[in-house]
Amino acid sequence: MGLYIVRKVCLTVPLLMVISFLTFILNNLSPMDPAEVVLQAQGVPVITDELIAQTRAELGMDQPFLIRYFQWLMACLQLDFGDSYITGEPVWSLLGPAFLNTLKLTLVSIIVIIGLSIALGVICALKEGGLLDKSVRGVSFFLTAMPSYLLAGLMTWYFSVKLDLLPTSGMDSYRSYLLPVTVIAVSYVGIYFRIVRSSMLSNLNEDYVLYGRACGLPEKTITLHILRNSLQVAISVFGMAIPVLLGSTVVVESVFAWPGLGTLSVKSILSRDFPMIQAYVLILAVAFVLFNTFSDMMNAALNPKLRKDL
């Protein structure tokens, strides 16, 4: 197992290098002069040639491309992503809090998603074909198909304006979590509970279940065994759900004015704040690679057969 982990980690290093290079190159392909972007982003009303030349020198844009890349990469390794073009503050001081805010929202959502998916998946599998199974699948189909901004608007109007129970937006207290988490959960639970359900169903017909029943094991114990085996599939999906959520909360964040990564990234993209965009893309890519590796490891821990593949 130790060797497996070392190999897996070694494989991610070149991948991360490629990602970082692509991130850097993409931003450098932009047709606009970064110096001009900086000045426009700072709201300077009139930009002169002299000012552009001065800003280029300040940004170190006169250096060759590869040298700039390695300087940037070395700095990134120390969490120094440069300074924002707009505010001039270090990127990390802006991205850090936004990342934490999104992480809070993501973690609370993922806990709700996992809990609900497993509970609904198990219940629907055990009651397969019954009224409960059918209605849960029907309702979830309807809710998953609904765009999250529409659901968010409707829920905010009903719970915040009409019933006056919850805040419409912001991140003021634990009550602020209820609406965004529900909206996020609704769009994911509908997909994930089906994975748990179908995995449970395929396990239900396995020999060990028949054997367990024949031995007279209590139904509760058998269900737990099925669940444990079924979760192997779900774990890789859930593992990847965290980075997926981290990168896709933008709609919910924007509707609920949640000061997270999504809002920040859109703002940075619109104002062409390249250091912010680079850091954002890099962090998300690293999150994807890490969580992917992590779920591979989890699966390898649960299923020794997988360890031989590498």
Partner: protein, 535 residues
Amino acid sequence: MTGRMVVWMIVLLGSVGLLASCGGDQAGNTGAADQDQELVYATAKDTNDMNPHFYAGSMPAQGMVYESLVENTEDGIKPLLAESWEISEDGKVYTFHLRQDVQFHDGEPFNAEAVKKNIEAVQSNASTHSWIKLSTKIVSCNVIDAYTIELVLSEPYYPTLLELSMTRPYVFLSPKDFVNGETKDGVNGYNGTGPFKLAEQKVDQYAIFEANETYWGGAPSLKKITAKVLPAGETTYLALQKGEVNFLFTDDRGTDSLDVEAMNKLVESGEFQLVRSKPMNTKMIVANSSKLDSPVHETAVREAIWHAVDRETISQQIYNGTETAADTLFSSNVNYANVDLMKRSYDLETAKQILDEAGWVLDNGDAIRTKNGNKLAMKLYYDTHSSSQKTQAEFLQHAWKSIGMEVTLIGEESTSIANRRSTGEYDLLFNQTWGLAYDPQSTVAAFSSTSSYYHTTSGIEKADELYKKIEQVMVSQDEETRKSLYADIINIVHEEAVFIPITNGSVTVIASADLQGISFKQTQFELPFERMQFE
């Protein structure tokens, strides 16, 4: 297995509780809008860096915290932090007598020394401020006595007081907040002299301003103003309905957070009032007269475009009557702009006739006019984030097609449109004048600036004469000469039809029905919150 699952469940539930409680300490901010004398406004843009010697911060927020020496009012320049002033005969020395009862928010006295430090801090970063011509004219700032300051210019410059009255950069920050005697590399705090002081700022969430109880002009009635960052549209609308937000106004880019229909609904509910300022600026289409490979460099083509803009329909249908049709670049309430100009009304037949006379003809069966084998085709650039610009562009495209003109619409980011304006890579683009406090002098100065309207104006026949007159008007000492120079300048650009006016924009406020004293300043970028109070 069961035991382990129970432990996991407890851990999971615990973490939910822990995470959710992380933000618990700010619970007091929610739904507080209905408290006495607390105004909460929604803003799509964060208040950002409040350093008044830079341009990244929100102007309405900076306007609450900082003040200038003089104020631009409807009746001209009035005293603010300077009680009175004298201008030397040669127009090069301005002597200001400062108010003696003013303190910065941190308790530091506001005096001649503080003024000198601030002006010098701005001047030391002159290249950033070169758009404001005063920054290129200031030679020195001298302390005469504790409350008298002298500003020496290299040559007479008539908009000196106007430019000193602007929201930035010539406003005053406590010298204690300076870093190494400068403000260009960041500041330690945001202490101004204004009626409100910045109490708390949370990036992308909110900024709280508290009343300055020792304000020299008397403590404001509103005790707390919160600028809440909310995305425009539905979220802001719901927050207003719930009462989490009780104030909304046109932002410093001229964009409203709500569409006209939503505003009307709020007003119909009886809980909100809508107040609109007089016209503040002119929204227009800028035509590139220097682009020789485009038909737009011909005056006749630009005139035809002008005649083919149905301003009344745009005003009534697209803006629902919230903006009025504009027939000239500057509306007549702008200083020096009350000039008699030939009106070019909406008339497709005249437009066609002008094109015919200029040699742009429709061959049998063609939909697009041609001249010497060249098609009458152009590109119009609009800001993708402005829904009204896109609608107008589509509307105009249709109208122009009927006179035999093909216009391709291209939506781009505002930064990229600004870039096109400075490089001259455009035929037509949407733009707006800078607003009452800046018009006509700043917009006119921009006619000859390479990063602004140089490409718009440099292709016209009288370009040299225009630039010469702009130079002259800025240093003119005599009111009559100035009037006549401005009249000439406005006449030249009007005749050449390079700035094609569409509508006059104003500042719109949506506020709780019980808010009194809503008024406007000369600038579209600030609001006088200190005059407002809840009943």
